[in-house]
Amino acid sequence: MEYKFTDQNFEEEVLKSELPVLVDFFAVWCGPCQMMAPVIEEMAKELEGKVKIGKMNVDESPQTAEKFGIMSIPTLILFKNGEPVKTLQGFRGKEDIVKEITI
């Protein structure tokens, strides 16, 4: 299942999560972000139970994006135990992302 992260649920769903969490910071106006959407959706299904995966709309949730200094999208951040441990910028294919976030 693909999660929808927001400024409101970020602490509960991401920072306090027991599983690692991959957050896809995106916006509807960003071309490469739209190309990433199906990749994220597929990964969320495949890695269910191992990694929580979801998207975060930077327009609807500007506070979190600002907190993590997001000035370029798409950006993926992997969180573990409430800490950002890996940042990936720009469009990436599925296997590339899986390789980068494999624990």
Partner: protein, 311 residues
């Protein structure tokens, strides 16, 4: 499986080649790192015939779905290397997957050209960007610099000006070389100031974001210019490094040399789009598509002549 053709690159040239080869009933696999290719970075496309205005990503998606519907198989991977054994080509991806085909169409396009100046790499994603369409809204009411002077630079500056309070368009030459329709719009936009004959020497920041740039010429009596962001739109460099093992002929800049039929010097290898030397006249979606169509037809003709069409 032995494909009739493997198309390397999933931008307009590669996807058009897939559309055409599918209609010639050739089995085809498209392998590319960004579905839709470079056009997905364009905010607006207003010169693709038949479509008055469309976003680059939408145009890319339309081509992608058309290619899929017609039978093209599409995978999102980087190509690592190519091999040829008798009449069979082997394409190895970065994940060590291998695909085989009777012919190849190289439509791998270009990667973004970088400034290669100090601070650029350090501040990518912290103010340095190669995609105005992706990142312009992060610079609402801010001051930004856009480097370049061709179509993507001018259209990018106009897009940036919708958000930023001030856009400096810094160009190394004395005259912008974009289509006049873009140049006029740039010049009449009160938020955009063009700085000619000037280069960036360094991008400077405070560790977490860009704060200023150093120039090779004075502006407002200073050699530096305070800014919140630096967008780089100075064109591309051909993605042809994975071709070395096939001895495909390239010009000195790395563009693949093709003739009018998109045929390279290697039997069974064709090329189309921004990666070819023929694209240097005009690198546009419509011309990339045209080359992709020609390459598709040339593959069909080649397989027919060599009696290698699957019955």
């Amino acid at each position: 499986m032995l494909y009739d053709v493997i198309i390397i690159g999933s931008g307009p040239a590669g996807l058009t080649a897939s559309i055409y080869t599918s209609r010639y009933k050739l089995s085809n696999l498209v392998i590319g790192k960004l579905p839709g290719g470079t056009i997905t970075y364009a905010d607006k496309v207003q010169n693709f015939p038949g479509v008055s205005e469309i976003s680059g990503v939408q145009l890319g998606e339309k081509m992608l779905s058309q290619a899929k519907v017609l039978g093209g198989e599409i995978v999102t991977e980087n190509v690592k290397s190519l091999g040829k054994n008798h009449d069979v080509f082997t394409v190895a991806s970065e994940y060590d997957k291998e695909y085989q085909s009777k012919t190849l169409i190289i439509a791998s396009g270009t990667g973004r050209r970088k400034l290669n100046i100090p601070g650029e790499g350090e501040y990518v994603g912290k103010g340095v960007s190669y995609c105005t369409n992706c990142d312009a809204p992060f610079f609402k009411n801010k001051t930004v610099i856009l480097v370049g002077g061709a179509n993507s630079a001018c259209s990018g500056a106009i897009h940036l000006a919708e958000y930023a309070q001030k856009v400096y368009l810094v160009y190394r030459k004395s005259e912008l070389r974009a289509e006049p329709i873009w140049v006029e719009e740039v010049k009449s936009n009160p938020k955009i100031e063009v700085i000619y004959d000037t280069n960036l020497l360094e991008i400077i920041g405070d560790g977490s974001k860009v704060t200023q740039v150093k120039l090779d010429k004075e502006i407002n009596r200073e050699m530096s210019l305070p800014t919140d962001g630096v967008f780089v739109e100075i064109g591309g460099i051909p993605t042809s490094n994975f071709l070395s093992s096939l001895e495909v002929e390239m010009d000195k800049s790395g563009y693949i040399v093709v003739n009018e039929e998109m045929v390279t010097n290697v039997q069974g290898v064709f090329a189309a789009g921004d990666v070819t030397n023929k694209s240097l006249v005009l690198q546009q979606t419509v011309t990339a598509c045209a080359q992709g169509a020609i390459a598709g037809y040339s593959v069909f003709k080649y397989l027919k002549q060599n009696k290698r069409l699957t019955k």
